[in-house]
């Protein structure tokens, strides 16, 4: 197949494989072929354009039947026109040029494309003009901010209660954690046997690992979810209290132990 294109246009076959996606449809592609080669739309060399068109659509993805069908339909039209032009005219002068309808469609499409370019710039102009309300009110704060009422003594005692992590020596060892939430549930419930409330820090006494704190807290949350407990804190950053929910139904806690956290 002899493909001769205008300068700067398509030369290699594989160009088509990639570029077919660039076209919005068969009319777009046809226009491209015509315009890049400076062809007079009113005198389209159907044979040449058909060959080029077929060459380009070889790269179509056969699985995308929808868009492939659209290109194939136009290819069929081109071939029909080509055939009609080969047939001898019956001498009737008012016979329409077989290309006329296609030309009308192409020109109409081109016009639409031109109009949509203008609309694009109108859209851009509009986007630079704003009405009232463009800058919205400041978003409302979601939570009321609590003023931090802390004395230096509080800060100092908090600082002192932080255990400094021992500097790491050697390679870190990764060990499986063995703390189960079930243990912590039992611990919490045991502590609440003879009183109605217990401090979170009290539950941590005797356990060194941060992980114990995490698991105790999770167990507390889980029990709260099950309405066995409720949690209270008098103010931010103060002691967290676990209280027994006196209205708790009997037996709800039985399953909790089975919610094993994968440790």
């Amino acid at each position: 197949m002899d493909l001769r294109f205008a300068e700067g246009a398509i030369v290699r076959d594989d160009f088509f494989l990639v570029e077919i996606d660039r076209f919005q449809g068969p009319l777009d592609l046809l226009l491209h072929l015509i315009r890049t080669q400076d062809i007079d739309v009113f005198d389209i060399p159907v044979a040449r354009i058909t060959d080029q068109f077929l060459q380009v659509i070889k790269g179509l993805d056969a699985e995308d039947l929808d868009s492939a069908g659209e290109f194939l339909e136009t290819a069929a039209t081109l071939i029909r026109i080509k055939a009609q032009m080969l047939l001898p005219h019956e001498g009737d002068d008012d016979d329409e040029d077989p290309r006329a309808q296609l030309v009308r469609r192409l020109l109409e499409y081109e016009q639409i494309r031109e109009i949509s370019q203008r609309m694009r710039s109108a859209e851009a102009d509009r986007a630079r003009r704003f009405s009232k309300g463009f800058i919205p009110a400041r978003p409302k704060r979601l939570h009321q901010e609590m003023p931090l009422e802390t004395t230096w003594a509080d800060v100092l005692s908090a600082a002192l209660s932080v255990e400094m992590p021992a500097p790491r020596q050697g390679l870190p060892r990764i060990t499986a954690r063995t703390i189960s939430m079930q243990d912590k549930v039992v611990l919490i419930l045991d502590s609440l046997q003879d009183r109605s409330g217990v401090e979170f820090s009290h539950l941590l006494k005797g356990f060194g690992d941060t992980m114990h704190g995490v698991m105790t807290f999770l167990a507390g949350l889980e029990l709260t979810r099950q309405r066995v407990l409720f949690l209270r804190q008098s103010q931010p950053f103060s002691e967290l209290w676990f209280y027994r929910n006196e209205e708790a139904e009997e037996g709800v806690t039985e399953d909790i132990g089975r919610i094993e956290v994968d440790t």
Partner: protein, 218 residues
Amino acid sequence: MNTPQIVEAVLFASDAPLTPDEIARADERLDEDQVEEALQILKAEYDDAHRAFHLTEIAEGYQILTRPEFAPYLERFDNVHRPNRLSGPSLETLAIIAYRQPIGRIEIEYIRGVNSSGVIRTLQDRSLIDIVGRGNGLGRPLLYGTTQRFQEHFGFGSLDDLPRPDELPIILKDRMPLQESERSSDQEKISEKQGLGERPADEEADNHVNEASQDSGA
């Protein structure tokens, strides 16, 4: 209080375009002509005083909008979400609908040469087009037309602000008489649809389809 001030107050308090008719509701003694007159006075005042905003004719109404040269300053603030720019296929489809409305999907697809149902749905979701009637053809196809929001999106004062086909640098003018007739019928449709607030009655829509299908079938 004089009329321009009343009109100004109404426009200031609104964040959408208002028609003179709507503005006139502010006072029983006002009629549309007086409002129009006041609008022209305000417009001139803003321009003469080099205000940062002007009175813009948009979507069959009037709205106070900032001048485009202030966009870079305003864009530095957090701002309310604005609609995205439209894609190429969306613009193409909108252009066809704007010029040929009311128009059905099949004709749109004939002009574009590709399936357009997805694009049509997107445009409908964005309220840029709407169903305006049903055609006479097989299955009484749905017909689409552009909406007020379409004009707002592009900043058109009315559909007359669309580029006229005869302004476009397109070759065919004198070479294809048939295009000539198509073009004039396009314009008729556009001017008939000027009052976008009123949807064309079904009957009227059907007539247009007949015309349009004759055109495309030619």
